[in-house]
Structure formats: C-alpha cells, structure tokens
Amino acid sequence: MFGFTLTEFLLFGKQLGIALAGAAALWGCIFSLRDFHCSKDRKCIIYDWIAVRIMPLFLVGLGIGTISYVGLLSTVQALAHEGIAYLPTAPEVAAAFPILTPLFIGLLLLTLIAVSLPHKTADKYANWITYFYAAAFVFAFAITSVPAWRGVVDGQQLFYAGHGFHSIFTVGSVLVLDYLFLLSKRAEILKEHIFALFPTISAVVWFGLAFDFLSALLIIEGFEPTIKLLFMQTVIGILIINGALLSGPLARKMLASVRPGGRELHGGWHLLANLAGTISITSWLTITFIDSFESLPFIYTEFLGGYVLVLALVFAGHTLIEWMEERTAPPAFVHK
C-alpha cells in the first residue's frame, strides 16, 4: 500500500530497534561509569539510577529489532533502493543472516541474564549493569554494521557498515537524549545531572552523521536525483540547522537554568526548546523511515505535508508526556 512493503517495514524495524538498543546500551554504560567520578569518597547514586532507568528503552529497542529480524528471516524478497543505488540487494541481505542470527541469540541471552538478576535496586546490580551495557553495545554495533553481506570486504561493504552503525550514534542517541530529557522533568537534581551530559551526547550525534557522510564517499557514483532524495536532503538540511540551534544556544540556556542561581526556562525559550527537540526526533525518524522504502509514489509536497503532519503529532505527544512526567513522583533519593 502506498509503496510500502512488509519486508521494507521489517528492515526499518530491525535498523531502528537495534539502533535504539545500541544507543541505550552505550549511554547506559556511560551513565553507570560516571558514578565513579561524581564523588571521591561516596558513589553517586543518581547516575546509577539514570543508568538503570535506561533499561526499559533498551528492552523496547531490542524487542522491536528482534521481532523485525525474525519476520525478515521468512519474508525477505527482491529489494532495491531508490535515492542511493548501492543499497543492499535481497541475496546480500539474506547472506547476512548466518552472521546476524548468532549475534541476535547472544544479545538475547545476555539480556535474559541481566533482567533475571535479583535486587535490581541494589548497588551490586548497578555495578553489574555497566558490564552488561558494554557487552550489549558491542553486540548491537556488530548487528547494525552488517545489514547485508557481499562476501568480500570492499568499498560497498564498508558503506553498508557505515550506513548501518551510524544509526546508533544518530537516531538512537537522539531518542535516548529525548527520553532522558523527559525523565529529567521529575526533579531538579535529575536535570542537573542529565543536562550536564547533553553536550557530549550532541557531539556523538554530530560525529555519527559524519560517519554516514564519509561512508557515502565510498559510493560517490551511487546517488540518483529522485524526489525521495530531494526530500531527504531537505530534511537533512533542517536537522543540521535545527541541531546547531538545539545543541548550541538552547542547550547552553538549559544548562545555565539548572546551575545554582540560574533562572528556569520560561515562555518562548521553553517553547523553542520543545519545538527544536521535536523537530530533531521527527527529522531523524523521517530519514531513517523513508530510507527503508524503495517505491514511494509521493510528490515532493506530499512528502513535506506528511513530515509537517508527523511533526505536529510528535509535538502534541511530546508535550503530553512532558506534562505527565512533571507530575510523576521523583525518585526516592530526592527526599533523602
């Protein structure tokens, strides 16, 4: 329907799900490691609390990725991509299955052990989770690096790898960033700790996009000037300019607002920060989604209209979740 096929939906689900799981594992690991730097004589429980709270996001990503992969195993059909002519063919996608299946099984077993461990609120669990996240990230990175297998490591295979694993650092990390932003609404002390990591997360997203641009140099002759490509280039322009605003002046404003003596963001600044955050998520999801489909019969204005419609829906949903998070009870340590 409308040029969408089940196989392409499953490829999108695998890519997005594992990118989200990989990004959750990466940032979960970094947050749980930061507890050692917070205080010299006492461990910082706030970063551990944040690291444990990232686990549901990891599980959601892993669930979407695994279900999509299982579906792909039985439905993969002839594929071709419009926009970039060098994207995987069906035999290449199928050839990656013998590599991907053991990786998926390993990641699932690892996750099963992690969620089966008792005493999830104890310090020991918080220490365990560092190693779990580190191992889970390695698995997710390997899975996203092999979206297809050509049987030889040439320029095109390296492009597949770069075009695959960059999603952990881009769309996955943007989703984690927004999840943390919403989580921080529960208490001021969470904002102080979470906002402090925003510049680092933003830098990783910028580097992730650079990986994708560099990997595209390997297939420089592979671009085709289609309507889909024009729309995707428009969205990339939007997300870069919006990202410069969000990770620059707006992030600095948010950081200043949670420092001692800082003033809370009000009115226009608050609205602008929320709008920029929404544009960021919508844009990254849009290019990841559109990139997964070969034959979309839309004209440029229809693509753009759909993008604006999704933007409005995400903004409304985001505002609602933010409102709910502000009314959620803060973590127990806030009262200590």
Partner: protein, 55 residues
C-alpha cells in the same frame, strides 16, 4: 526571549552546511548535478574537524 542567540564557529559552520543542503535541493530540482551536495558535506566535515579540536 529578548536575548539574542549566540553561536560558536562550529555551530555557524553547521548552519552554513545546512543551507547548502537546501541549495542542493533547488539546484538538483533545476536539473543540476550533485556539486552543492559535495560542498555541503565538505563544509559539514570541516565543522566536525573544528568540533574535534574543541573537545
């Protein structure tokens, strides 16, 4: 909201790269080649090098 927005050099370069992506769309739609796309990506990668030196 009366305060002005201050951008660093890295952020200004990113904005320039973003504008070149828009120029690329217009140029391609007018029957042009991918020159603006390569320029946009080049500017972006220069920005990333500057970001790396700032870290």
């Amino acid at each position: 909201m009366s305060e002005t927005l201050h951008f660093t050099l890295f952020e200004k370069i990113l904005i320039l790269a973003g504008l070149f992506f828009f120029a690329n769309v217009i140029y391609l739609a007018s029957g042009g080649d991918f020159s603006f796309l390569y320029i946009a990506k080049g500017i972006y990668l220069i920005g990333i090098v500057i970001l790396a030196t700032e870290l």
